[in-house]
């Protein structure tokens, strides 16, 4: 019932969008089958200014411009709302437009899987993945837990005694990355106590002992670890990361838990983007990823390089989505 209303609202809005946005969907492929942008490119950040998506979009647009990898002007526009759903609907309506793209990360899977967006990654044209980030599970410095297995053993014995906190809602990233690792370690995923704090109080709640575990991104923990406030029990990367503090973080895999989670970040075009255009952007993103200027950007924000071309990206996303969907199903949050 809810779904039908949702669908009809979206259809109506999609139609409305299509009505006004159809001015330039003409095929811009050249005669020899190659593509060159013929006007400014619109880069959509499906969030407000200042967040992770916005930063990535603006940095990419800036470096593209400064290095001259893409000559045409790239404008970042923000379409905030619905955890990304509004921005996705906006791009989705630009079917076939080769001058439009948006930045995405795992919420592009979590949000539709939670039934909160009609559009998922499979509704768009993957161009390239650029960056990888990983999750970290941290506890207070004076916590009795020394590694992930200590924590998970306690959770197996007395699940009510452990509370996990994260920034996203249940069923989204901070929650599911923890569930994924914990389940692989043999914890009953339906017994995990998770609270969400979207007002910036999550780290505080860990530091003052209100909750036990902080599920977050690796980058959020570094400074607190250096200051000796918290310790990271494990990260979700496949292998040890590089970097001053990062290299001290043990992975879950090292601790005998055969599971990992990547917080990927890449770019997608509207559905039905011309193949010549996909090839063009794919190559440009690769050039960007390999450039010195972008390496500096990665360094600055502590991002890891993870370039994937369109096809590889697609396959990777399919595999991820299956796994997440199964997990959500198991804890009863799937739609």
């Amino acid at each position: 019932m809810k779904k039908t209303i949702f669908a009809s609202v979206l259809t109506v809005s999609a139609l409305a969008f299509a009505g006004c946005g159809s001015e330039d969907t003409a095929n811009t492929a050249g005669e020899d089958g190659t593509f060159e942008p013929s006007k400014g490119i619109e880069m959509v950040a499906p969030a407000g200014s200042g967040g992770g998506w916005d930063t990535t979009a603006r940095e990419v647009a800036r470096v593209f411009g400064e290095t001259g990898i893409i000559d045409e002007n790239m404008t970042v526009i923000n379409r905030e709302g619905g955890g990304g759903a509004i921005g996705w609907a906006y791009v989705h309506a630009k079917e076939g437009d080769a001058h439009s793209m948006f930045v995405a990360s795992p919420p592009l899977m979590f949000v539709p899987l939670n039934g909160q967006s009609e559009h998922g990654h499979e509704d768009f044209t993957p161009l390239a993945n650029m960056i990888a980030d990983y999750g970290a599970f941290a506890v207070r410095e004076d916590s009795e837990f020394e590694d992930l297995n200590d924590l998970f053993d306690q959770m197996k014995d007395d699940p009510e005694s452990i509370t996990v906190i994260g920034t996203s809602a249940p069923g989204s990233m901070d929650h599911m990355q923890f569930v994924r690792i914990a389940k692989a370690a043999g914890v009953d995923p339906t017994k995990i106590k998770y609270v969400s704090d979207q007002e910036g109080g999550a780290l505080t709640a860990v530091l003052n002992g209100s909750v036990d575990v902080f599920s977050t991104g690796v980058g959020e923990t570094i400074e607190q670890v250096r200051a000796g406030n918290i310790k990271v029990l494990g990260v979700t990367a496949e292998e040890r990361m590089e970097g001053e503090v990062l290299s001290e973080f043990p992975t879950a895999i090292e601790q005998g838990i055969d599971e990992s989670f990547v917080n990927w970040r890449g770019f997608f075009g509207p559905p039905g983007m011309d193949e010549a255009a996909v090839d063009y952007y794919e190559a440009k993103f690769q050039e960007l990823s390999e450039s010195e200027e972008f390496a500096e950007v990665r360094e600055k924000y502590g991002w890891n390089e993870m370039y994937m071309g369109s096809e590889e990206y697609s396959e990777f996303l399919e595999g991820e989505k299956e796994e997440i969907a199964a997990l959500l199903e198991e804890i009863g949050l799937g739609q």
Partner: protein
């Protein structure tokens, strides 16, 4: 008769509360929280229901000032409705036609409609305000406003 306005309002709020409460009872169940998403809304719904009953039976007499506030000539309400309609049309056309044109038209016609007859100043302000705003937002601050049918 004096209390009749409170009665009408009480009844209206009662209906709003009832609808809200009904919707709260439709909220799906989530297993993992001791206090689910429907608890607070149900509490609020009931509270509003009770308050609306209080309002309905309240014997507080309206002060003259309150009464005067309520006493708006029909014609003036029509003017407000017309301004709202203009805003509505503005929003409707805003993204398609673009910020500068719709804003210029809105300021000119809205001011005219409300009785501003200095048409030269009006035209000047109607043009300058959107152009300056657009320039500040788009060129100085990098915040994109709808361009619409204009080329820049």
């Amino acid at each position: 008769m004096l209390a009749s306005i409170n009665r009408k309002l009480g009844l209206l709020i009662f209906i709003v509360a009832a609808v809200y409460l009904y919707l709260s009872f439709q909220l799906p169940n989530y297993e993992y929280a001791p206090i689910d998403a429907d608890v607070i809304p149900k509490g609020l719904g009931i509270l509003l229901l009770v308050l609306s009953v209080f309002l309905f039976f309240s014997r507080v007499v309206e002060t003259d000032a309150e009464k005067a506030k309520r006493n708006i000539p029909k014609k003036e309400l029509g003017v407000i409705a017309a301004v709202f309609a203009m805003i509505f049309v503005y929003i409707l056309l805003f993204e398609a036609i673009g910020f500068i044109i719709t804003t210029a038209l809105f300021i000119f016609f809205c001011s005219w409609f409300l009785g501003y007859r200095a048409w030269k100043t009006n035209i000047l302000v109607s043009l300058l305000f959107p152009i300056v705003m657009y320039a500040i937002f788009v060129f100085a601050l990098g915040i994109v406003l709808p361009r619409g049918i204009l080329p820049f």
